[in-house]
């Protein structure tokens, strides 16, 4: 007697038969019939035709039958909304049943019937159940609110269910708390702006108490909710961490990982000197290791997360290398992830072991895995210098195996090793050349060609080798073609006599016979270089290449920080922020790690660098990927390259962008593939002068008729107190920013409210969005005696280091005197960054306006500004916002305006002025839409003063 009997069909037609049985008088027969219906449903058969008959069976005392009918209703009510109404009465009655199980069942099922008409009837019973005396009913009702919200959000808000749900967070029963949190989290996800889970120390305390007592699933909900909270100081962070750590020993891996998330996030706030900090670090390792002994699916998710954790805090797992060693019967997805982490953990201490393992893996069966293992050997060589020699010899051994894909991978990584350690391992070139014929993948061919071109002087038959590639030039992929072109030009520059013909041939192939614009352009550039100035060509093409950095595939720091907040979620599996893949971007809130609390002893914060140092610090480090500049210019940043300090002029590079790709190719920096618009583009020869933007020549091309900037100077805001005396041991600083005749100044007023004199003043800025930095030291000549005030104008430059701030116009400042170092941050109005040559030519304006995609357009209202268009225009002009054109449409004046920021970003504006209406409409278009709202604020400030 098994349920499989329900699947047998009769000749007459199943539905017909079932209908008869459902209407039978015998209870037992009815139940059997309903079971048959359910069985058909589970395998996806459509039994919706039986709807009225099944609903008729609903009024019964038999709980099993009732449950079965409910199951059916949930599946099919939507297709038969009118019939579903028939069921309402029973539900309402059941919600009053003395048995809590039945009350809960009724309210639960009602919520699952996604029919609008039913939801109206649901409200009253639900309200009662939310206040039910039995916690089982309350916790079921909590979830029901989430269900209802999904069907009809407005109804839930109107009926005040959200408030009731919030009250349940303080319920006495931990299970009810957990379900309320879960329901609220789910609702909050579809309303990112609503402040549903308003966390404060009291509610946090309640959650932490419930955490200890609720089920494993409830713990996950509560921990995920805790992770969204930002403690007010490091002490609170520590106390939450202490109460969360026991969860690391939970048997449920999801609980463990959620706990890890909370700890990783709050750790950010703890000072590293704290004993507790190191204790916590130690406690994090074992649970992560334990996750790796679970089922492979769990291992996979754990490994993806460990990958993030290892990048953020490598110290946690640095001794645990061995657990990441691959077992031969691990599923392939686990193997590949383990390999990734092994490389991240590789260090001088364990490199011998790692290499031995990798060599073992390189002889396995699975092709993908073997390839990755070979690549990993190369990455080890680049990461741990001491091991490079051993890695190279291992790779040579592998090349000897002659296994086609192993050889190809090995050659690709050897190319990188050559770049990292120039003039060290070139003796192996001969061996590589032997394998030329077996290469059939573009990447390997390109790598080999690069090697031949780069070391042409050491390879006797380099010309023959390259010539052999040239024969099938048109069948090669673009990557190989580009590489071949560059390699032959290199060869020509090194051995001009024998290879003239070859270079002619490749140039004509590239420029005349190719359809690929990249290839053609590169060909032409070489051609012209070679024909006009071979010496310059040599300098450009054979220039010293920037070294490649150790780790090429690190996640950029800002993204990493965001992902740490998403540990244990899908985002952490894909290593992408939810905004990148959650459907429609609905409910996505950017999360960020909490800032370390700036307690006075913390020497960690960047502002605390020696403040007396010359303040006009040059940017000699290439800003990290993903910083503002990258975002704004939309440059295709390659992997971080630690090269010569080329980026000094990075801030003015905007206009040069056009040439970036070409110049880059000239540099012979081929490692990034074909059209790498690399960041290190400008030739090193261009001097990085402070005052004149280096792109000025190009700028002139764009705005030949740029109007003379008005000399009257722009709007100056009144001074505001930036640093109250209370916080700075008696030093009060107030100030403002001004822009006059092309230069930015920070007008400071220092007041000594302490009882002793102050001396030795110095100032420094943290890196900021627009590279603002003091252009001169802070000069306070005499000691500042008590109750004295001095006014200082500090000139600023905008060529300092760049780092995206939140908000964009945030500036963090450190001021030092003989007493201490003080920190404060202030917001500046963007108009101080509007440069004098910000007038765009009409045609240019039109073209640019069209060129910028519409989604970059932002619209704002400026209220209470009773000026006519003339006055508006004059006022804005004095702050370097230039009116390019004017049009009158239906009585409204349309002003088309342009402005340019110090870093070369153009902002185009359309301002609509309606006579008699004090509101102005402002539309802004910019390639970097982030700045729009700040430009709008600047407009407001200028117009209203």
């Amino acid at each position: 007697m098994t349920d499989s009997k329900y699947f047998t069909t009769t000749k007459k037609g199943e539905i017909f038969e079932l209908k008869a049985e459902l209407n039978s008088d015998k209870k037992e027969k009815k139940k059997e019939a309903v079971k048959k219906v359910i069985a058909s449903m589970t395998v996806g058969k459509d039994v919706s035709a039986l709807f009225p008959d099944v609903v008729n069976c609903m009024q019964t005392d038999n709980l099993e039958l009732k449950k079965l009918v409910y199951l059916y209703l949930m599946n099919y009510a939507k297709s038969q909304p009118d019939m579903a109404i028939m069921a309402v009465n029973t539900f309402v009655k059941d919600c009053e049943d003395p048995n809590p199980l039945i009350r809960a069942l009724a309210v639960r099922t009602m919520g699952c019937i996604r029919v609008d008409k039913i939801t109206e009837y649901l409200c009253e019973p639900l309200r009662k159940c939310l206040k039910d005396e039995d916690p089982y009913v309350r916790k079921t009702a909590a979830v029901c609110v989430a269900k209802l919200h999904d069907i009809n959000a407005q109804l839930v808000e109107d009926q005040g269910f959200l408030d009731t749900l919030k009250d349940l967070i303080s319920d006495s029963n931990p299970m009810v708390v957990a379900n309320a949190v879960a329901a609220l989290s789910e609702i909050a996800e579809s309303h990112p702006s609503s402040n549903l889970l308003d966390l404060n120390p009291q509610s946090i305390n309640k959650l932490l108490t419930a955490l200890n007592e609720c089920t494993e699933w409830g713990q996950i909900f509560i921990l995920d909710c805790l992770a969204n909270y930002t403690p007010k100081d490091d002490r609170e962070a520590q106390s939450i961490c202490e109460r969360v750590t026991p969860r690391l020993s939970h048997a449920n891996s999801a609980v463990v990982l959620s706990a890890v998330k909370v700890l990783m996030k709050f750790m950010e706030m703890l000072s590293k000197d704290l004993d507790y900090y190191s204790t916590l670090l130690k406690k994090l390792a074992p649970p992560l290791v334990t996750l790796l002994s679970a089922e492979p699916e769990l291992q996979y998710v754990a490994l993806r997360n460990i990958n993030l954790i290892v990048q953020k805090r490598p110290e946690i797992l640095k001794h645990e290398m061995k657990v990441f060693f691959v077992k031969y019967n691990d599923p392939i997805y686990v193997k590949l992830e383990k390999l990734d982490i092994m490389i991240r953990l590789a260090s001088q201490a364990n490199i011998a072991q790692v290499l031995a393992e990798l060599k073992e893996y390189a002889t396995e069966v699975d092709v993908d895995f073997v390839r990755k293992a070979v690549r990993a050997i190369g990455r080890c060589a680049i990461k741990v210098e001491q091991s490079a020699e051993r890695c190279v010899s291992t790779l040579l051994d592998l090349i000897q195996t002659k296994v086609n894909y192993v050889v190809q991978e090995a050659i690709v990584v050897i190319k990188d090793i050559f770049r990292k350690y120039p003039n060290k391992y070139e003796s192996v070139i001969a061996t590589l050349c032997e394998n030329l014929d077996s290469l059939d993948e573009p990447e390997a061919r390109a790598a080999m060609i690069w090697i031949v071109g780069e070391y042409a002087e050491r390879i006797d038959n380099a010309d023959e080798l390259l010539e052999s590639f040239l024969e099938g030039f048109h069948d090669e992929s673009t990557q190989v073609q580009l590489q071949l072109l560059t390699a032959i030009v290199k060869l020509f520059l090194k051995k001009p006599t024998e290879t003239q013909e070859l270079v002619q041939q490749v140039l004509s192939l590239a420029t005349q016979d190719s359809d690929n614009p990249d290839l053609r352009d590169r060909g032409y550039i070489y051609w012209r270089l070679l024909s006009t100035d071979p010496v310059a060509a040599k300098e450009v093409v054979l220039a010293e290449k920037p070294l490649i950095s150790e780790e090429t595939d690190l996640i950029e720091p800002t993204l990493l920080d965001e992902l740490i907040c998403y540990i244990g979620t899908l985002a952490s599996v894909y290593h992408k922020p939810p905004s990148a893949f959650v459907e429609g971007g609905r409910g996505v809130v950017h999360k960020s790690l909490p800032p370390r609390t700036a307690s006075s002893e913390s020497t960690e914060s960047p502002e605390a660098a020696p403040t007396g140092a010359p303040s006009a610090e040059q940017a000699d480090v290439i800003p990290p990927q993903g910083d503002l500049l990258g975002d704004l210019l939309n440059l295709d940043l390659g992997p971080p390259v630690s090269g010569p300090p080329l980026a000094t002029t990075s801030v003015q590079m905007g206009p040069v962008d056009l040439l970036g790709g070409g110049l880059d190719s000239l540099m012979g920096d081929e490692s990034e593939g074909i059209t790498g618009t690399n960041f290190t583009a400008p030739p090193a020869a261009v001097p990085a002068t402070l005052g004149a933007p280096m792109g000025s020549g190009l700028n002139d091309l764009f705005d030949l008729n740029s109007g003379v900037g008005s000399l009257s100077g722009s709007y100056v805001a009144p001074k505001a107190v930036w640093l109250p005396a209370m916080k700075a041991k008696g030093l009060e600083i107030s100030g403002t920013f001004t822009r006059q005749v092309g230069s930015i100044t920070m007008d400071l007023q220092l007041t000594n409210k302490a009882l002793q004199a102050m001396t030795d003043f110095a100032i420094q800025f943290n890196r900021n969005s627009f590279g603002l930095a003091p252009a001169a030291p802070l000069q306070v000549h005499a000691p500042l005696s008590p109750n004295q005030t001095v006014e200082i104008s500090l000139p600023l430059s905008s060529v300092g280091s760049v780092m995206k701030m939140e908000p964009l116009n945030n500036l963090q400042v450190a001021v030092k005197n003989n007493i201490d170092v003080f920190y404060f941050s202030t917001l500046y109005s963007l108009h101080i960054l509007f440069v004098e040559d910000g007038k765009m030519d009409r045609q240019m304006f039109l073209a640019t306006w069209k060129d910028i995609p519409n989604e970059n357009e932002a619209q704002f209202q400026i209220r209470d500004c009773p000026l006519n268009s003339e006055a508006v225009s004059t006022k804005l002009q004095s702050s370097n916002i230039f009116t390019v054109a004017r049009r009158t449409v239906e009585g409204q004046d349309m002003l088309y305006q342009s402005l340019k920021l110090t870093n070369g970003i153009w902002v185009l504006a359309e301002l609509r002025v309606q006579p008699g209406n004090p509101s102005l409409t402002l539309s802004l278009k910019c390639r970097a839409p982030e700045v729009s709202q700040h430009v709008h604020q600047a407009y407001e400030t200028i117009l209203k003063n």
Partner: protein
């Protein structure tokens, strides 16, 4: 939260679907089938598969894929843990978890799934609570139900559901009160060609079978609790007590449960109880290869090694093998190239060995990869880490229970490279 669940067998048929929110068309599984096709073996199907509107999270157990469909950002571990829990529950209910059994009990399965999740939120996943709500099918009950018309759905609210000890029901009564604990350790190890250990770690568990009347409060202490520095507990264990005194104090669930699992990491020295001597050689010219392996005991603390099974995936180039074992039986499947040798018990006086020749594809070059040897074995009455239970005490009840402790060491993923 979890939207739907599909059960798919290895031939790619969806044989059960359950939806906790609106119905998701089963065509969503097409993305899963694509991934399944791409992966050469069922084990290699990636556990997280994105589709344009949903995410598919799957686990593969008992030759069945359990595929959960989610739509919003849900912790994947939460889903995967839940799926494993579903499998465990089925196993608990029906003894085995297989396609025919699930089909035979489809209504119970459906009822159970409905109780486990509500709107995608876990509702009751503890098996003792579930069993009070939906009674597991037994032959007797089926007969009784048919005669009396009673049901296998409980109509009382399970008592444990909301108490402070949700894992235990009240009013438990036994005539024989007993508590058994099994300390089971699995060694995961990789041994290299020369016989030295590359990595070795121990995954240990203490499984319990407690049948005690009333509300007993147990404490379990160890001779050497310092070994346990990486542990995961059943929710019943009082964590504070463990932190301060290194004593396990708990009110046990009724019946079988896993009290704790622990991990002795690769950094500690792990004793390796067996060794394998091997000589597998392929020669370039000849189409014959030599094969010889011997298994022997190493650090066994005087206990016997039993249930030894040696398996190895031979390279594709091996056509057949002609071998003679000194004991046990061996098989070689020329299609899958899987060699399996059931050795049985190791006699230290006369070590078991397997010798012979392999015939290779004529003319082919020698295989690139070396076969890895997989070892299974069991050692009774030994916890290889040295963990020992000191004593078990019971408070809160008056009677004297019968207590028992058993130790066992097993091979987990024990691999020898050649």
């Amino acid at each position: 939260m979890i939207h739907s669940l599909f059960l798919i067998n290895s031939s790619g048929d969806i044989f059960l679907e359950k939806h906790w929110k609106s119905v998701v068309s089963r065509s969503v599984c097409d993305y899963f089938f694509e991934a399944q096709e791409r992966a050469t073996e069922a084990e290699n199907v990636p556990p997280v598969i994105p589709t344009p509107h949903h995410y598919l999270l799957s686990v593969y157990r008992h030759k069945i894929f359990f595929v959960a469909v989610i739509q919003t950002e849900v912790p994947p571990l939460f889903v995967i843990e839940f799926l494993h829990r579903v499998v465990d529950t089925f196993q608990d209910y029906f003894g085995v978890c297989s396609e025919p059994v699930i089909k035979d009990n489809v209504v119970v399965v459906y009822e159970v799934l409905e109780e486990m999740l509500d709107n995608g939120f876990p509702l009751a996943t503890e098996s003792n609570i579930l069993k009070e709500l939906i009674k597991p099918p037994t032959i007797l009950r089926t007969v009784v139900n048919t005669i009396t018309g009673s049901t296998n759905v409980g109509d009382q609210l399970p008592t444990g559901q909301l108490s402070v000890v949700p894992w235990r029901r009240t009013g438990v009564k036994y005539t024989n009160n007993e508590a058994y604990f099994d300390v089971i350790e699995e060694i995961d190890a990789i041994i290299d060609k020369s016989g030295s250990t590359i990595t070795a770690e121990i995954q240990g568990v203490i499984d319990a079978c407690v049948k005690l009347t009333g509300m007993p409060d147990l404490t379990l202490s160890f001779m050497n609790p310092r070994l346990l520095d990486d542990v995961s507990f059943h929710p019943c264990v009082r964590f504070k007590r463990w932190e301060s005194e290194r004593i396990l104090s708990f009110i046990p669930p009724d019946g079988n449960f896993r009290l704790l699992s622990y991990h002795v990491s690769a950094q500690n020295l792990v004793a390796i109880p067996v060794y394998v001597k091997h000589n597998i050689s392929f020669r370039d010219s000849s189409s014959l290869g030599r094969f010889e392996i011997t298994v022997g005991p190493k650090q066994t603390m005087g206990k016997a090694i039993e249930g030894v099974i040696v398996t190895s995936q031979m390279p594709k180039g091996v056509l057949n093998m002609s071998l003679t074992p000194s004991q046990g039986v061996h098989t070689f499947d020329p299609v899958t190239k899987m060699l399996s040798w059931d050795v049985g018990k190791i006699n230290p006086q006369k070590l078991p060995s397997l010798k012979g020749t392999m015939s290779l594809q004529a003319g082919a070059s020698k295989p690139d990869e070396n076969p890895t040897i997989n070892l299974q074995f069991k050692i009774q009455q030994l916890a290889i880490s040295g963990l020992k239970v000191n004593r078990l005490d019971m408070y809160g009840e008056k009677y004297k229970p019968f207590k028992g402790i058993k130790y066992m060491t097993k091979a987990g993923k024990f691999q020898v490279r050649t």
